[in-house]
Amino acid sequence: MEKFETLTGIVMPLDRPNVDTDAIIPKQFLKSIKRSGFGPNLFDAWRYLDQGEPGMDNSVRPLNPDFLLNQPRYQAAQVLLARENFGCGSSREHAPWALLDYGFRVIIAPSFADIFYNNCFKNGILPIVVDAGQVDQLFKQVETEEGYQLTIDLAAQTITKPDSEVIQFAIDEFRKHRLLNGLDDIGLTLQHVDDIQAYEKKRQQEAPWLFRNV
């Protein structure tokens, strides 16, 4: 997993509450065998005017000009500004895969759906909970100021605005440590290789039948 320390990036506002995982990546794309390549289909139903299907050449599909992600000023956005209960719905990991593949590394919202929030950390995305009033303010500023960027510093737990105002945010220590060091769950478990090997050795003596290869 790619580590996250600091990032300064363009902010893309998504002004709707309860954006569910089906809106993030519609279910026809879940039959894929890959975890990458979902970026072009992120928010597919909002982003394009036609019905998206797997295998289409997305570069020639008609874009919905009203969807902000399609506007030049939000190209290359890395920070997604959202409303409450972002990521509700299914537990499948395609939603964070799609956001990451598009290029989003940070999502700021007043609240997140539980499983989605967890899944973000498993995939190197930083979801930040910021109170609704401040989120409101951010929406206003992003809208009025073209090229609006935020700087996120994970170690300091701060979001810095272009006018130097700082928003402090809270994050679980354990998760912060993982993301700062780019440790995925697997990487973390592999820090305990010795424990696993010691367990196997002891267990193999006590219960050899469990170690027969299939």
Binding site: F174, D195, E206, P208
Partner: protein
């Protein structure tokens, strides 16, 4: 100090380390792999340059996407074909044993694990599939996992887990003839609800459970997840040991003796404390049929479709109305007047040899009713199919007008070509009656294999015991 539950014993025996934050690193003995939830996990391994920690702990087979008709032409649907081919390629690349589509041993993961002796008492068994709870029938700790966790197990042979609370569901009394494990578990879910087991690991106990065969216990544990519990389990006894004996991956000779001595300790201590205990009387149970779109919406076959007007809880009332609307049923209709269009006998819940024998007993010498558009029998594995054919069950089914198919998940979730058309009603031996589960707009009634066969030959639901 109070004694240990079976769950405590399994948990403790697999704890590699206590992480000190409420989670533990648990060692995983067996990992079953299928084509739907594994491709991104293998891709993740590859991207990180990792290898499986212990290749021999993994066993793979394609089941969800395989066709159940003639396989000579391969898989027609390109998306399904790609998933199965990807599994083949990944297993080949990483050296994982796979029973491929045309292997006699291929079948539904939860059928082949026990059949091969790859599932053993006292193991931790995981699979990227929620019905992994099935394997708990062997006194094993077995639960379903997501794709990140599939990759985690492949790479480390471990999982980070929170311990659940322990629930005992104690079922006692003589089970009436004609009432099966499926009826018992449907009645339990009807009683505690689909969220009743959330946060718990359920142990099924009591003399009615001990009286069940191993296959009956698998049916029971299979549906623990429908009661909200990630894991269901039954203590080891002589039946467990006898079932395992002689299976291809079961221990032999001296190690067998050693294993058996260990397995005999796999039960809750007499003074073990459970966080919750539920009692159920088996002697009054009747065959069950679901009427709604959740497994808890279930009633005895001699009952009537419930009336939402009598439900005081508003949320529940609305849920009932929506379910009846989807199912196109009127309140107070006798269950025996409901007429399925399709009958499906199969799935990891009920596709083992005893299930097929039970259904064949009812089908024998009878004919599928004219009103039934399709009646499918889909064995759980190639070996189940072979045994059924040796016993002549295929002939009985075919003579009665059933279709005899190749093994796989089939119409349980309609990922292959077997699916309901919108509006069709199905008597199904599977485990989920959610909207659209068996095909968009399809309507599912969950029943036991004997009850499904009885519905097929009469054209409506009927207490199978009335058929004689």
């Amino acid at each position: 100090m109070a004694g240990k539950t079976l769950y405590d014993k399994l948990w403790d025996a697999h704890m590699v380390r206590d992480n000190g934050d409420g989670t533990a690193l648990l060692y995983i003995d067996r990992h079953l792999v299928h084509e739907v939830t594994s491709p991104q996990a293998f891709e993740g391994l590859r991207l990180a340059g990792r290898k499986p920690w212990r290749v021999g702990a993994n066993l793979a087979t394609p089941d969800h996407n395989v066709p159940t008709t003639d396989r000579a032409e391969g898989i027609v649907d390109p998306v399904s074909r790609l998933q199965v081919e990807t599994l083949d390629a990944n297993c080949e690349a990483f050296g994982i044993t796979e029973f491929k589509m045309n292997d006699l041993r291929q079948g539904i993961v939860h059928v082949i694990g026990p059949e091969e002796g790859a599932t053993l008492p006292g193991m931790t068994v995981v699979c990227g599939d929620s019905h992994t709870s099935t394997h708990g029938a062997f006194g094993a700790l077995a639960f379903g996992i997501g794709t990140s966790e599939v990759e985690h197990v492949l790479a480390t042979q471990c999982l980070v887990q929170n311990k659940s609370r322990a629930m005992l569901v104690s079922v006692n009394g003589q089970v009436p003839a004609g009432v099966t494990a499926k009826d018992i578990v449907l009645a339990i879910i009807g009683h505690i609800g689909t969220a009743g087991g959330t946060g718990y690991a359920i142990e099924f106990g009591g003399d009615a459970i001990r009286a069940l065969s191993m296959e009956g216990r698998m049916t029971l544990c299979n549906m623990a997840i429908e009661a909200g519990a990630r894991a269901g389990m039954v203590a080891v006894d002589e039946k467990t040991i006898e079932y395992v004996n002689g299976r291809p991956y079961a221990p032999k000779a001296k190690i067998w003796e050693q294993a058996v001595a260990n397995w005999q300790t796999l039960h809750s201590d007499a003074d073990a404390k459970f966080d919750k205990v539920i009692h159920l009387d088996a002697s009054s149970l009747k065959p069950q049929v679901t009427w709604g779109t959740s497994p808890e919406m279930v009633i005895s076959v001699d009952g009537r479709v419930p009336d939402p007007a009598t439900e005081h809880d508003e949320v529940k009332r609305e849920g009932m109305k929506a379910a009846l609307n989807y199912m196109d049923l009127q309140p107070n209709t006798p269950m025996v007047e409901i007429k399925p269009d399709v009958v499906f006998i199969g799935s990891c819940t009920n596709s083992r040899i005893e299930d097929l024998r039970e259904a064949a007993r009812v089908a024998k010498g009878r004919k599928v009713a004219d009103s039934i558009k399709q009646a499918l029998v889909v064995p759980g594995s190639g070996l189940v199919k072979q045994q059924a054919e040796q016993e002549g069950l295929d002939k009985i089914f075919i003579d009665a007008g059933f279709e005899w198919r190749e093994p796989g998940c089939s119409m349980c979730l309609a990922m292959n070509a077997d699916r309901l058309q919108a509006g069709e009603r199905c008597a199904s031996t599977s485990n989920r009656n959610f909207e659209g589960r068996q095909g968009q707009g399809g309507r599912t009634h969950l029943v036991s294999p004997a009850m499904a066969a009885a519905a097929a030959v009469t054209g409506h639901f009927i207490d199978v015991r009335k058929l004689g």
